[in-house]
């Protein structure tokens, strides 16, 4: 596996806060998690009606799902298994090449 399979089960969440209150709730939730912001670049740049893409580690996905549902925040998972997507991007080819 590429990268020693470190991304297995990690997910990319796409969250769209629709008002200021949701922005603040989302900043609070993500501010207390160790997530990797894909866009925007940091928690302070979150603003309403702009999509937030975050990379969530596999052990944190269940908790984030629960919190987002609890807060009725609009979200979806646009990459459900990051490792698989990485393998698809170059994995099949480059492993063949290495072999």
């Amino acid at each position: 596996y590429l990268y020693n399979n470190r991304y297995a089960g990690d997910q990319i969440f796409r969250i769209t806060p629709s008002n200021d209150e949701e922005v603040q709730v989302l900043q609070k939730i993500l501010g207390h998690m160790k997530v990797d912001f894909w866009q925007p670049n940091s928690v302070t740049l979150i603003c309403q009606n702009e999509t937030v893409d975050v990379h969530v580690k596999r052990n944190d996905t269940r908790g984030l799902h629960a919190r987002l549902k609890q807060q009725h925040l609009d979200y979806r998972v646009f990459i459900s298994n990051l490792q698989k997507e990485i393998e698809k991007q170059t994995g099949y080819r480059s492993s063949r090449k290495r072999r």
Binding site: W38, Q39, P40, N41, C47, D53, F78, E85
Partner: protein, 308 residues
Amino acid sequence: SESQYDYEVYHSLEEIQSWMFEMNRTNSGLVDMFSIGKSYEGRPLYVLQIGKRSRHQKKAVWIDCGIHAREWIGPAFCQWFVKEAINSYQHDSVMRRLLHQLNFYIMPVFNVDGYHFSWTTDRFWRKTRSKNHRFHCRGVDANRNWKVKWCEEGASSHPCDDTYCGPFPESEPEVKAVAKFLRKHKKRIKSYISIHAYAQMLLYPYSYKYASIPNFNCVESAAHNAVTALYSAYGVRYRYGPASTTLYVSSGSSIDWAYRNGIPYAFAFELRDTGHFGFLLPESLINPTCTETLRAVKAIASGLLKKC
């Protein structure tokens, strides 16, 4: 060899550097290769100069790719541009005119250490790989490290943040080397273009404040022509405008620095997509993404040869 090089796959740093040497070796009339310095980990910072040799001082366009390590479509585009420029020189009159009247400085991988690290260890690494002994986190955001409104809104002074501005402006040897080169050639360099991903946008100064640049009309027109050209390829719409309003406010960015240092047309492209694959744009989309972006860059370069 050059003819076997596959431009529709992502390449490692070593492959890209070997390719650069090969392009330089096999296209001596149009290509020149040089290094502008060394990275934090000691790797050479290679640049290709593309253009018909001339005794006269020619205007120039600078294009850098891969400031942020995980944005792999950037280096793919830089390689695509070089290949297209050389291959179409004979039969495309627009490209031939551009290469006769302009030089293009192409830096396929700006953040060489970060790019290598994103291939070997962390696919989603963004920053450089510098180390400050006082902090356990590594790396500086090379697009927050330029000496323009450094480390103010939209940048972080915390070393563990992805938008860390660094201990001081141009602290990163990669940024310092490019800034030094651009300063040295700024009379001739009329356009600075930086390739990023992902958002499908074409951005121009300012990033650090909500204000219009003095030559707004000309830059806005150039951006409009560029995204119109891009759209003509596959119908993909790009948003364009000042970075501060089109994306968000950020300080210490390369396009603001280039503009403040006298380069009249400074742009940052945010290439495909808008969040279906994000940084993991499949290799099957390299061709259309690079084809459309090439049209935009040619439009910007052609605009430089006209009066605005």
